[in-house]
Amino acid sequence: MTATSVAARPAVAAPRTARPRRRSRLGPIGRVLAIIVIALYCLAPFYWMIVSSLRRTSDIFDNSLLPTTWSLESYAQVFSGSSNFGRALLNSLIVATTTTTLALALGIFAAYAISRLNFRFKSAILAIVIATSMFPGISVVVPLLRLFSDIGWINTYQAMIVPSLSFAIPLAVWNLTTFMKQLPYDLEEAAMIDGATKWQAFRKILLPLAAPGVFTTAILTFIHSWNEFIIALSMVNDPAVQTATVAISKFTGASEFEAPYGQQMAAGVIVTIPLVIVILFFQRRIVEGLTSGATK
């Protein structure tokens, strides 16, 4: 293998998933131990959540490691009554998907501009973008509520999507800029010398290389937007448009003092497990899709 950049291209650009992974140098026991510790740390509280969701309302505070009496009562309650949790899940999906797509689109453009084009004030632009992540969320609600009621956005999806972008865009811009800066420019340059347009160089070479960064940003912004609460609560009062987190806040026990703990835990399980499965599933598909351009 020669040490020229052209020769290095396929090696760098090939999708990592297709290559044999680096083997761990840790002893097998140490490795297994480390993985068990990490999984336990992440999952133990989640286990408690699942167990709690499977108890009866009346013995919800038990500390036994398995429910003394198993019950799906909490799950039934989540989907019964006025909350229409299925609809709320769909709304969350719409809001989070749109937010993520928009943030990625805008973020990729902006990151490309900052990392690949020559112009002034780059630092200032990055500073302004991140500064928007610094204002406390609770202070944004009332002005936005006033603004959105003036323009008739109450009870609309965009009233939830646009504010969510204020977290998603800075993360996308910063993360993708870092990524693209780190990726070698020579490959694109070589492609353009071979006659590719800037767009083609971007689409076929840079984007596939940046796939891990794009995908991670997508996961993080998707979940962040999926979990947003106070804006979604304030901008929407129509149950047909409300999101899952808002629906969860409206669960109630038999009286207003009684925390609907089992229902909340059940709802937590319901929103978390499919989310994780879907993300892992899409991870393969999206990374493959993005990298397919490079291998052609």
């Binding site: 009332v142 806040s249 109630t252 038999a254």
Partner: protein, 439 residues
């Protein structure tokens, strides 16, 4: 994100005997413009008919929904849409205040905690109701008072709530105690006897709600009132640096010191106390009527089913004084179709609907007659005790800055019961901060 905080703002019965605000003339340095200007006493005509919204906390019992459905069946052109707010009381208030700030017309009829009523009325976020709007002489007087501000009725009482003392009657009987304790000394004496029993090993005597939360304000003011004091003088000035308040605070502080109140009760809100009592860890518990059903469950979840009783809370020299909880229904100032709203309120809080809701919901009605109805009492055996508790409750306070007042009370009382301050210092500091808030 705060569903867990089952806060409830409560009218602080006798304790906050405050007409604090009345003595205040505008101290606004004169530079502010006088909002609304003219005489607020003149009830403006409530006009406009059409669809409205009912903005309320969620109701799992479905009782309120049946009332709304009944109205909608009869009024096809004046439909009521239920706008459900989160379970957390702070969040409910926050949403309603936000709506008032932007003068939004999305909210028509508001379901207000009794302690928000003064604040909403004083800010003119809700409109006064016509004098003859409600059959006020059939309602429990304390509830009407809690819906009145500046001598005007601003809301219709919806349901009410008060304190009960839950006792382990089985253990009391075994220890030879036949009467429910009327005074704190009785309470201590009964505990001494019960805790000497072998079957009471590991139990504690008494708990209430002592976490830094609305519950602490409630428990402290009940204690002060039950010691014969009050937190405000008749003309609304704070008056907490008193022997009565000291007796009350020492009852709590000494309770923690002596172990009469278990150490972990300092983290108790309503549910944690319920849980401890239900697991058989407490002889006595101050709580609301809502836990009665959970304690009576015979599915194995309650260790005390059939072994407990209720009585009015005890005091220093005799029966104690409860606070008043519950909810009021009012009309937002910024809404349209106020005439429909008024009619809906009359329908919703009318005796007929209150009665039909009793089938589904254990929330205490505001009509005194139900408390003597045999069929109703058979279903909710604690109601007569609750009524005497409510009748004992003194006139309601009119604190506009309720949020700041209750925060100050919680701060100082919590420092005292957690041992950071002596009771004397805590009360002196509380007096100072209340003077600042009111004055």
């Amino acid at each position: 994100m705060r569903q867990g905080r089952q806060k409830r703002r409560l009218i602080v019965g006798a304790a906050l005997l405050a007409t604090a605000t009345m003595s205040l003339t505008a101290c606004a340095s004169g530079s502010g413009s006088t909002g609304g200007g003219s005489t607020p006493a003149a009830t403006e005509e409530l006009s406009g008919r059409g669809p409205i919204t009912y903005v309320s906390s969620p109701d799992a019992s479905g009782a309120a929904q049946t009332s709304v459905d009944a109205w909608n069946a009869e009024h096809p052109d004046e439909q009521v849409t239920w706008v459900e707010l989160p379970l957390d009381a702070d969040q409910q208030r926050q949403q309603m205040v936000q709506n008032a700030q932007i003068k939004g017309d999305a909210y028509t009829v508001l379901n207000l905690d009794v302690v928000w009523t003064s604040e909403f009325a004083a800010n003119r976020w809700i409109v006064p109701l016509p004098e003859d709007a409600l059959p006020t002489d059939e309602l429990i007087p304390a509830t009407v008072d809690a819906a009145t501000y500046a001598d005007q009725l601003f809301a219709a009482p919806y349901y009410t709530d008060g304190a009960l003392l839950y006792s382990r009657t089985d253990l009391l009987t075994a220890a030879g105690v036949t009467e429910a304790p009327e005074t704190w000394a009785d309470l201590q004496a009964a505990c001494d006897k019960v805790l000497a029993l072998p079957e009471a090993a590991g139990m504690s005597c008494y708990a209430g709600q002592f976490d830094k939360n609305e519950g602490l304000t409630v428990n402290f003011s009940e204690a002060v009132a039950s010691a014969g004091g009050s937190l405000f003088t008749e003309d609304g000035q704070p008056d907490v640096d008193t022997p009565e308040a000291l007796t009350a605070l020492e009852f709590l502080v000494d309770g923690f010191d002596s172990g009469m109140i278990p150490q972990d009760a300092i983290t108790f809100q309503e549910e944690q106390g319920r849980q401890a009592f239900q697991e058989g860890k407490l002889v006595f518990l101050r709580n609301w009527p809502y836990i009665f059903n959970a304690l009576s469950k015979t599915d194995g979840s309650s260790a005390v089913a059939g072994k407990f009783g209720v009585s009015p809370i005890p005091g220093e020299d005799g029966p104690g004084v409860s606070t008043l909880g519950g909810r009021n229904i009012a009309i937002s100032s910024f809404a349209e179709n106020k005439a429909t709203a008024l009619e809906f309120i009359q329908f919703f809080t009318g005796q007929e609907q209150e009665e039909s809701r009793l089938e589904l919901s254990s929330r205490a009605p505001v009509y005194g007659s139900f408390f003597e109805d045999e069929a109703v009492v058979a279903k909710y055996p604690y109601l007569p005790t609750l009524l005497s508790s409510l009748e004992n409750a003194a006139p309601r306070p009119k604190v506009v800055q309720y949020g700041e007042t209750t925060a100050a009370i919680q701060d100082e009382v919590y420092s005292a019961i957690s041992g950071d301050k002596s009771p004397e210092d805590a009360l002196a500091d509380l007096q100072a901060s209340l003077e600042e808030i009111v004055g």
